[in-house]
Symmetry: C2
Subunit: 346 residues, 2 copies
Amino acid sequence: MRAAIYRGPGEITVEEVPRPEIESPTDAVVRVTHTAVCGSDLWFYRGQSDREEGSRVGHEPMGIVEEVGDDVRSVEPGDRVFAPFVISCGRCEFCRKGLHTSCVNGDSWGGDNGGGQGEYVRATEADGTLVRVPDRHANDEDTLEAILPLTDVMGTGHHAAVSAGVSEGDTCIVVGDGAVGLCGVLAARRLGAERIIAMGHHEDRLELAESFGATETIAARGQEAVDAADDLTNGGANHVLECVGAASAMETAIDVCRPGGTVGYVGVPHGVDDSGLDVFSLFGDNIALNGGVAPVRAYADDLLNDVLQGTLDPSPIFTKTVDLDGVPEGYRAMDEREAIKVLVKL
Amino acid sequence: MRAAIYRGPGEITVEEVPRPEIESPTDAVVRVTHTAVCGSDLWFYRGQSDREEGSRVGHEPMGIVEEVGDDVRSVEPGDRVFAPFVISCGRCEFCRKGLHTSCVNGDSWGGDNGGGQGEYVRATEADGTLVRVPDRHANDEDTLEAILPLTDVMGTGHHAAVSAGVSEGDTCIVVGDGAVGLCGVLAARRLGAERIIAMGHHEDRLELAESFGATETIAARGQEAVDAADDLTNGGANHVLECVGAASAMETAIDVCRPGGTVGYVGVPHGVDDSGLDVFSLFGDNIALNGGVAPVRAYADDLLNDVLQGTLDPSPIFTKTVDLDGVPEGYRAMDEREAIKVLVKL
């Protein structure tokens, strides 16, 4: 089978690799039909984080179950399924409390189980990991494209909003206009926020944020952005979604948070280790820092229901579509910010 | 009047200074009868944080109201009162939500309003700041010594427990066996924790922790302490109280926190800015960081009720008593860890 492979910074190739097979009774092999390129893939693509050269890439698979192990009960061959960006068992203490990213039987995509950006993947812990799309929706292309972000960015934006404590009537600020930030806007609206202030650098993305429910937007950086947010909120919002991960974005998120408020953060921390998180700002203002790597499996069923009901549609974040051979071009387009997020259709 | 003055690292003197007078209709002048030396005073005493030389010190005053401004309604001359370590108005948005440390009309002790360690202080915003001790208890020395920690360390330990989300039946770990950590143990017990694991370096303080309600103790540092906590909790507690503020204590607190748990931190951050807070540990395990400078005024009424009922008594943290002339000796004794906390009786 063919799959996208990381060959070093700036270099993604599509190569012939062994097809994953059932190895354990809890495995399922899925033929990937849809997947995506993630903003977090850009860290290694840009050489800003380590990744083994030759490793398979991608972690947002959706497809058709091809084969299942003897113990798999929740899916069967022919089912349309999608999988979160980490594998989880669904049985352990952490899965049961909705923290599937800390699953004691968990695993990542990208080893010999296959990355998401390839023709097949092997889902170990298939029962805990795979989410089945009901048959009546299983072949509706628009619906599938709206579901695909539940593998990662929609669940991640939702985790930011939940972690920031957003609920009905709240005012919140979303820092970041990438795919996660835009999904954070959708999530905040879904949770009933009354004012959603989207903050970013790109006019086109902020327009999309408005169509997703942002009531105000701020196109600025650093102190200028903080001042604008302070003006709009009279001193900061109680709920701030940090959806970037860069140290500067975290600093901005803390700066625009009202004393006693909460920053919900979900961006993979990047550069924060160099400059150090400003604990003094958090301390003096009693700002809570909540969140982390998003347990998107915990949210998948609820969000799927909303997509199927037609009340949630994150698919406009896909501004470019490629096939498997186009994956390298997809990375380039996201790296150069030509595309918000790239859909890969196999 | 006479008051303790900071004259540079390691040097506290008791000198004649102007007596504070009523300057505004919301002021009250209080004759101090009881006060204390705080662990946070040691940062400047050790030259590890800046403080203006010649400034008055202390921030935990209790005494008798001497005189009030025309607008003061809640206290009158002759009342026994105590004051939290910051001045707050009780009227603003932040006071109303229980975040008195972010009061928009707030102030600190130690200017010409007097530090706590002197014969008189002027409480600006007297109505918001001063807490009245009911007359029937106002001259009972044992009760007063049990109330005095409500000016700072008892409220701070309670804030750690509240911020860590401690409630009935919980298992929690208290990092630090200083006065705040010990009060954190009392607070956790008061909130109904079932297991309270106290972690520190001093056998005598850990014995006091046990008498305060700790069910287990760990006398170790660094990885040894983390390993011991992991053994006792099978991988960490969901509620961790960080009651020191040093970077190493924060690191330990995060390390002993269970994935998805909460670190409630109240120690003035110290050294954390150099090494940077390890956001990756927080991120990967979805550990929430909650707390900050404690709004002890918010807790004063509830905690006072418990002291007066006889169900809360933090006074054993005072292991040494001095008079005003003994304040320099009190600093020395705390600096050299001879005393957990020094009571000053004027």
